[in-house]
């Protein structure tokens, strides 16, 4: 069983719970809840295929699928994990052919929409005692832990808690301490995507990318801290923007577009009103990250050039956005994203910085999934180092086998969804390999 199956199930569980929380808000929402429960049933069916039951544990270190730690899912569904633990749910046993009603009960229970436990016995809570000693004790990457901390920090802002720049800086310090001069692991982790908390994950990814970028250019530690802070908070203004506008799959109305265009100044104001170090740079980055080099973009800087850090964040912001799925467009591969950045070098992006960014990332940035001419699929770790993740027939390689892509003929870059591989999930594997 792969982490991907566990993640898919947890994502479906999270979605269904969120839909059920709003199920009484109208027929459209009811339909969405029905669809989400059906997706959960399907994910459950795939997860338990060929087995009598599957146990998911909500442990202190994260989610476990049977005894295997799911580090990536633990980061991505950190809120779900905390919710389950706060409700005293240690283990969930899902029987093969778990009923739709039981799965819906589970989703409602973990989301706080109901206190009913699954009644039909196909989904059982705390039936298996949690035995920490039997669990996978593979250490979770420090980077991943910091990633989860940073998400919590951003979530607290959206809950209306005052922005504490000292806490945000602490997160940046964590990334700096956990990452090395070699950008591979950071860039791998920066491929995490989440469809429910797009802004938070995007902001953390932008922070990781910016720190790697800043290191590549040669900024000193103090500047890296400021750059990381600015990147992590560059979209903080989005928390005050109507989420519906951000996730609108269609064409934005004038009003929605006006809302979206306000997020830089909302972010800058939020940061300026906060207390703590690095405020000036972070406010400037928040305000300027959509300003173009030719004076276009928004807001209007009246001919003033954006700060260097704003220009850097503008590039990593675009890179992460292009490589991520959005409701209004599909994700593109890393190579395509770099090509699009190159096309914008000059009028939109600082050409020097685009060049340096592309040099740092390379044609196949860490996390790129490459289909070789012989049908194998490899994931780039750093430079020419990669791991084989799929055999020519499509079977997964477990554990992934290291290899060099130097001299190999690459047929195409693949999207994670097409390859059936989640690059960020391999962080611990990559960090643990020689």
């Amino acid at each position: 069983m792969s982490e991907l199956l566990g993640r898919t199930f947890l994502r479906a569980l999270h979605h269904a719970g969120q839909r059920l929380l709003h199920a009484d808000e109208g027929p459209d929402v009811d339909d969405a809840a029905e669809a989400a429960i059906e997706a959960l049933r399907h994910a459950s069916s795939v997860l338990t295929a060929g087995r009598n039951e599957v146990v998911i544990t909500a442990g202190e270190a994260g989610f476990y699928l049977e005894t295997t730690l799911l580090p990536h899912a633990s980061t991505e569904f950190d809120g779900l994990l905390r919710s389950m633990r706060s409700r005293g749910i240690d283990t969930v046993t899902i029987l093969r052919d778990a009923s739709r009603a039981d799965l819906a009960d589970l989703a409602a229970l973990v989301a706080g929409a109901s206190t009913d436990i699954p009644a039909e016995g196909t989904v059982r809570l705390n039936e298996r005692p949690h035995r920490p000693g039997e669990m996978d004790d593979r250490p979770v990457s420090g980077l991943r832990k910091t990633y989860a901390d940073s998400l919590d920090t951003l979530r607290s802002v959206s809950r209306g808690e005052p922005l504490q720049l000292g806490e945000v800086m602490h997160v940046v310090d964590g990334f700096l301490a956990d990452s090395s001069a070699a950008p591979g692991p950071s860039l791998l982790l920066a491929t995490i995507q989440n469809h429910d908390e797009v802004t938070y994950y995007h902001s953390v990814n932008a922070c990781l990318l910016s720190l790697a970028f800043g290191r590549y250019i040669g900024f000193d530690h103090d500047d890296l801290r400021l750059l990381g802070l600015g990147a992590l908070l560059h979209d903080v203004g989005r928390v005050v923007i109507d989420e519906a506008a951000l996730n609108n799959p269609g064409r934005l109305t004038n009003e929605e577009w006006a809302q979206v265009r306000l997020h830089p100044q909302e972010g800058a104001m939020t940061i300026m009103a906060a207390a703590g170090p690095g405020q000036d740079i972070a406010a400037a980055v928040a305000l300027e990250h959509h300003a173009r080099m030719d004076g276009g973009g928004y807001p209007d800087l009246a001919g003033r050039a954006p700060h260097t850090f704003s220009r850097m964040v503008s590039i990593v912001d675009a890179y992460d956005a292009i490589t991520s799925h959005r409701p209004y467009r599909p994700a593109r591969t890393p190579g395509e994203a770099l090509a699009i950045l190159l096309e914008g070098a000059g009028p939109q992006y600082d050409p020097n910085l685009v060049r340096l960014f592309i040099e740092m990332m390379g044609m196949h940035p860490p996390g790129s999934l490459l289909r070789l001419s012989d049908g194998r699929v490899v994931m780039v770790v750093s430079g020419h180092d990669a791991v084989l993740v799929r055999h020519p027939g499509g079977e997964p390689v477990d554990p992934p086998e290291p290899l060099s892509v130097e001299g190999l003929e690459v047929e195409a870059q693949l999207l994670p969804a097409d390859a059936g591989v989640d690059p960020a999930a391999m962080l611990e594997t990559v960090e643990g390999s020689p």
Binding site: M269, E359, G362, G383, V410
Partner: protein
């Protein structure tokens, strides 16, 4: 720095709309073997980043310019109040001045927003904060970097400082208040000039000192008006201020001070002469002595001023005075003083 994985091949997918871009990317990465070029670009980026100054204040100015929603504008101004007050409380007067100017120099787009700005300024001008400002400035030794802050604050601060001079027991010595008054008037001199018409002599005196400290020659006409003030304590400070601002005519103004009926003014003029670097000081003093307008005490002090100066001209002047014969009155006093000075120099037997 190059060495990223640019060597492997990547074929654009069939019908890929970005095929041309990928080809360009390919070409770019093929040129990246020149590490020196990359280092040069990175160095330029580092230099450009270091050249940015006060990004927060720049961003704040932009926000003031582009924000048109009244509620957000109000929030922005509240933030501004916090910035200035915070910097003052931290003793960072230079930063406080930058934030202050970010608002006071901002363009105003509508009467409503202008009114909001005035309200923000009024909120900042709380007596407790102003008093804390004065105390912190004095504790910091009247730092010159506070000038931008004080001059941008303008009238509310001038009013506060003048008030501090009126009370029996000011929070700090009045000389500090005068110093800050001078800094406050640097930007808008009229704030001080109008105070020269105050009916209270001690206020006019302090303001005259402050005007002199501004370094603004435009204040000369106003100072000339108070140079004839009834109170000689005012005239003394007006003379000092005029001499400091009107360098071209400083000596003439000092010499004119000896025609004042007040010994206090003439004493001040003597002090100014001592400090005056103009080589025409000695001829000027000789002219005064020869004019016969001085009294004996002033004549003696002025001969001493000549004697304190170095060079041939003072020696020649003393010798000329000492050689006088058949003189009486003030001229005799001057001659005796000159002879005494020459004796002390070993130039006269």
């Amino acid at each position: 720095m190059p060495g990223a994985n640019g060597a492997t091949d990547l074929q654009p997918r069939d019908g890929d709309p970005h095929a041309d871009q990928l080809a360009a990317l390919r070409r770019l990465l093929d040129t990246v073997e020149d590490g020196a070029a990359t280092t040069a670009i990175a160095d330029r980026v580092l230099a450009a980043a270091a050249a940015h100054r006060e990004p927060g204040i720049v961003a704040f100015r932009d926000l003031l310019r582009i924000e048109t929603r009244t509620s957000r504008y109000h929030r922005l101004l509240r933030t501004w109040v916090g910035k200035v007050a915070g910097a003052i409380r931290a003793g960072d007067f230079a930063t406080a001045g930058l934030w202050m100017r970010a608002l006071t120099e901002a363009p105003i787009h509508s009467s409503e927003l202008a009114e909001r700005m005035q309200l923000a300024m009024a909120e900042l001008t709380r007596p407790d904060l102003l008093e804390e400002l004065v105390l912190r400035l004095a504790a910091a030794g009247d730092p010159p970097e506070a000038r931008d802050l004080l001059s941008a604050w303008g009238r509310p601060l001038v009013d506060h400082l003048i008030h501090g001079m009126e009370v029996e027991d000011p929070p700090v010595n009045r000389r500090h208040l005068v110093e800050y008054l001078g800094m406050s008037g640097t930007g808008d001199l009229s704030l001080l000039v109008e105070r020269l018409a105050d009916p209270r002599w001690f206020i006019v005196r302090n303001v005259a000192i402050a005007v002199g400290r501004t370094g603004r020659p435009e204040a000369i006409p106003a100072l000339e008006r108070v140079a004839a003030h009834d109170d000689d304590r005012v005239r003394v400070e007006a003379l000092r201020a005029l001499v400091s601002l009107d360098t071209e005519h400083a000596l003439d103004r000092i010499l004119a001070g000896f025609s004042d009926a007040s010994p206090r003014v003439r004493q001040a003029a003597t002090s100014l002469l001592r400090a005056c670097p103009d080589p025409e000081v000695v001829p000027g003093i000789m002219g005064l002595i020869h004019s016969g307008s001085l009294n004996a005490a002033d004549a003696r002090r002025l001969v001493e001023v000549i004697a304190e100066r170095k060079g041939d001209a003072p020696l020649d002047a003393l010798s000329e005075l000492a050689a006088k014969r058949l003189v009486v009155g003030v001229a005799r006093v001057a001659r005796e003083a000159a002879r005494q000075a020459l004796v002390e120099r070993g130039e006269y037997e």
